[in-house]
Symmetry: C2
């Protein structure tokens, strides 16, 4: 068996859960070819979650979540996401023959919705949802009632709401532990914190199974404009905190509420992981570095881990010999506007004739 | 070692070629969940080349091609493609620290160029290139001269021009032979025919190494509007033929010249493979089927193999028990306009309030 299901026992899933797969997991782990070496750091690696079937690590969640729905014989997949979770659920629902209905906040960017619609998911946008807190609450209540009627749950990629599905995400750690047990620093982007929590828990599960394994430090990296976990982790506090307004522009990491935050903070600290805060500007720069220096096409959220690694190097908290892995969470095609920004400075050059090619190539 | 480089010996590469990798290969092979079963065909599988680092099987070519450039200590990657080969070469060049310069035909669609530009490749469009045959010839001559000056070759994903790089594509067959040696029908999309030729050659190399292995039938599928190989293969003729004008709208498969065609036809016939011609309409329908019935997000060219499989079933040439694999060559994000067509029929529904949700869900 390939992919995440070979770890079925380790993930601690309901024993009767039938494997359901679109080829998620077994993602590449590749060594930095330029960014690390240029800084004298030869031990930087990237875990390319971009290579999952729908283009992000959320496929590890969706595979288990949809398997659970099938197992419970529910007849629908219900969700409220306009991001990568929605695309993943839409893909796996399509393959499972389940209708997938997704409540979208008013004003959600069209680009993010296209992949879900391509898989045939039914999207509905409710006036005021995500804008008025009163309306949002009423919509959630209504969704909760519909979920009960359909004998299902609302799919959210957080342990707080969907602990079974999130167990699938732990498989990232199992793969890292197998492929590179000597990597001692894992940099993980965080919005609500579910990914970092799953990664930390995954390593603990691996150590339970293989007692000689040394759990690496799981570092939580957040944009400054959504500092719910990373700042307090760094300060030694033992709780996460909501922000009034998630002002970061990094799509997918705007999660103002705590959700899994307290557990994430504790789990990262248990691994001796630290918190890193990075500016949006640095994240967009890292997206460009990944593309131009490593050939890795990532969405901005996927470049957050590298921004955290750079900060750890700058501050001296990471030594040149320290082996580190940055998790690149999602594919560049997920966020077309960010690609426009990326390529603005690299236009197509128009040449009048083939003779102009010498000058263009700088040939004497 | 993971990916294509574990087959280095089998690929018959120059022995001193240093592995260069972005995590290409090891792509998922998944069973059809709906399309096959709904037709009583339970043995349909998909090989998801969409999961490669830049989103297409061309990464298997680029990894070897760039390794060869590095090995020869050339200082540049030169190419003339506006499609997936360009994106793959741009990615691997970026990682290799090589400038990548790509001559683009006049009028090439902007969307196709974005991924190359994101990786930092330098694109230049020459007036009349690809439109006037006279200008095109002059541009090619000029490029050939530049290639000599730079001690390199112009990168084209065809055995005729780049036999070393194309050997990397043979790894698809090695993976299939390992994962599912009992699959006896492989459906392969063809433009110039390089992919089908690589797949057929790969299986023959596998049989040389493992004499008990039975080479599967490699079927060549082409859009009717680019019938250079498939029609003659079916007719029993022993040559490919150019078309005056490749009128198919399937991006990436518009290759009017023969290029590898004669070798492709012969290699497919040696495997007892057949030729299948499919309409563009059927291909776009298959793109939709893959998304909505299988959760597979493919570009139109990636759905051509399924269109061929459907034709083989319809004609009775494939029996229900015959195990078949369709190679899904590229990711849906490669061709944004085709996604627009796909989702036009599935708009976002706007609801006035949460009470409207009952009616929307069809709850009494």
């Amino acid at each position: 068996m390939k992919g995440i299901w070979k770890y079925k026992d380790l993930m601690d899933l309901p024993t009767n859960l039938p494997p359901f797969s679109l080829g998620e997991g077994d993602t590449p782990l590749i060594q930095s070819k330029n960014i690390g070496p240029e800084m004298g750091m030869t031990n930087l690696y990237f875990k390319l979650e971009t290579a999952n079937p729908s283009g992000s690590y959320k496929d590890r969640f969706a595979a288990i979540a949809i398997a659970e729905i099938l197992n419970k014989k529910s007849k629908i997949c219900l969700a409220t996401t306009s991001g990568n979770t929605g695309a993943a659920l839409a893909a796996y629902s399509a393959a499972a023959g389940l209708p997938c209905k997704i409540a979208i906040v008013e004003g959600a960017p069209e680009g993010k919705l296209k992949q879900m619609r391509a898989y045939g998911a039914k999207l509905f946008m409710i006036k005021g949802f995500g804008i008025s807190s009163e309306i949002s609450e009423r919509v959630f209540d209504k969704l909760a009632k519909l979920a009960v009627q359909y004998h299902t749950r609302i799919q959210v990629s957080a342990f707080k709401y969907c602990p079974i599905g999130m167990k699938g995400v732990q498989s990232i750690s199992f793969e890292l532990a197998e492929d590179m047990p000597e990597a001692k620093n894992i940099f993980v982007p965080a919005g609500g914190g579910g990914l970092a929590l799953a990664v930390a828990r995954g390593f603990h599960l691996w150590r339970q199974r293989f007692p000689g394994f040394e759990v690496p430090r799981v570092h939580c990296v957040q944009p400054e404009g959504n500092n719910t976990i990373a700042g307090n982790l760094r300060l030694g506090l033992d709780y996460a905190q909501p922000v009034t307004d998630a002002v970061t522009k990094i799509s997918g990491l705007q999660v103002a509420n705590v959700i899994d935050g307290n557990d994430t903070l504790k789990a990262c600290r248990d691994t001796k992981g630290n918190g890193y805060l990075v500016t949006d500007k640095k994240v967009f720069e890292c997206q460009r570095l990944l593309a131009e220096k490593e050939g890795i096409f990532a969405e901005p959220a996927g470049a957050v881990s590298l921004a955290g690694w750079l900060e750890a190097v700058r501050s001296g908290e990471l030594k040149p010999e320290d082996k580190a892995v940055c998790i690149v969470t999602g594919n560049g095609f997920k966020d077309p506007p960010s690609i426009e920004d990326l390529i603005n400075m690299n236009p197509v050059q128009y040449l009048e004739d083939e003779e102009s090619m010498d000058a263009y190539f700088g040939v004497e």
